[in-house]
Subunit: 184 residues, 2 copies
Amino acid sequence: MNGRRTAKDAPHGLNNTAASLLGFLHERPMTGWDLVAAAEQLMGDFWSITRSQVYRELSTMARAGLVEEGERGKRDRRPYAITEAGRTAFADWSAAMPGEEAVRFPLLLMLTLGRHIPRDHLTAAVEHHRALHAERLAEYEGQAEGMSDPYAAATLSFGIHYERAVLAWFDDLPEEITRGARKD
Amino acid sequence: MNGRRTAKDAPHGLNNTAASLLGFLHERPMTGWDLVAAAEQLMGDFWSITRSQVYRELSTMARAGLVEEGERGKRDRRPYAITEAGRTAFADWSAAMPGEEAVRFPLLLMLTLGRHIPRDHLTAAVEHHRALHAERLAEYEGQAEGMSDPYAAATLSFGIHYERAVLAWFDDLPEEITRGARKD
DNA sequence: GTAGCAACAGTCCACAGTGGACTGTCGCGG
DNA sequence: CCGCGACAGTCCACTGTGGACTGTTGCTAC
């Protein structure tokens, strides 16, 4: 009687995570474990899913008839296959406009509050992250060799543009912030 | 008796959100409402906090003695002030290395699954987001005028580098993806 | 062969984060 | 003085994250 509208009311009833699982299941039946690995491998650092989440969604979707549990294998392995209803739900999801990205960057939080933080903590944090990003860029550039799938390549390309931008940003930071007048 | 370790066991006991609130409270006592506004304004798109979260953290921190509730004002306005314990907790937090950023980008999810999605949905999504990012870049560049605080400027500069990178990435996408051979 | 370890597979829980509905209060323009 | 929009806070359901825990199985070293 109230206007409450939950995810279940949406035309397709899928959240992005559930949709991603159905997407992977288009290829072949997979277990939760496989799905986590696939997502990790393919969407890498720009779309994460966790074990807990995946198993939760799988059993929800099974109840909703979007996937079907197959024969249990060794080690309690539980393959799920997409159903016709699942394909429909996925198609509906794919027609909706994907939402905006969310970036949560603790280092920026720290910098924003920089006025109240000892200078050397800031410079340590900045240097640490600069190294991390340099490392990741190298990694991505390595992966860019022998990349055939254009869809996977698009994600990787995003990663490369992103990391380069972050590194350029580090280089642009004023000395005021990065290099405290630390003489001890 | 078990090895479980919750946030409360951490040396400072603060999550990033709580820490950000303490950070802002260094300036002056503020209400939850004010804090949401300040965070929104200063950390903009790279560190988000929600009303629910803020009020939750405030009452937790009040119970822990890190903040103190002041006199209630009009409209049930409830200002909180940081305590000495709060300053200590914040200082401890600031000594810890900030975690890595998380980027969640539904468009990349869609692209990754692109093989199973009608081409025109993909191109529509790409064009939509391209426009969004162009808009945001313009907005950021506008804000860059008259920016005095170097810490706020750092965040804004990140935003500009980021948006430029995203736009460059869009331009790099192969026609294969962005411009389906749609003839109907 | 078998002991043991690492990788596999899934469960469970607590906590963090998001979004929207809901309630109520004031300030001000008409 | 009425009503509307901004202010202020509450509550809830859901999504997302991380780690502890259980059990299994294949492989390697002895």
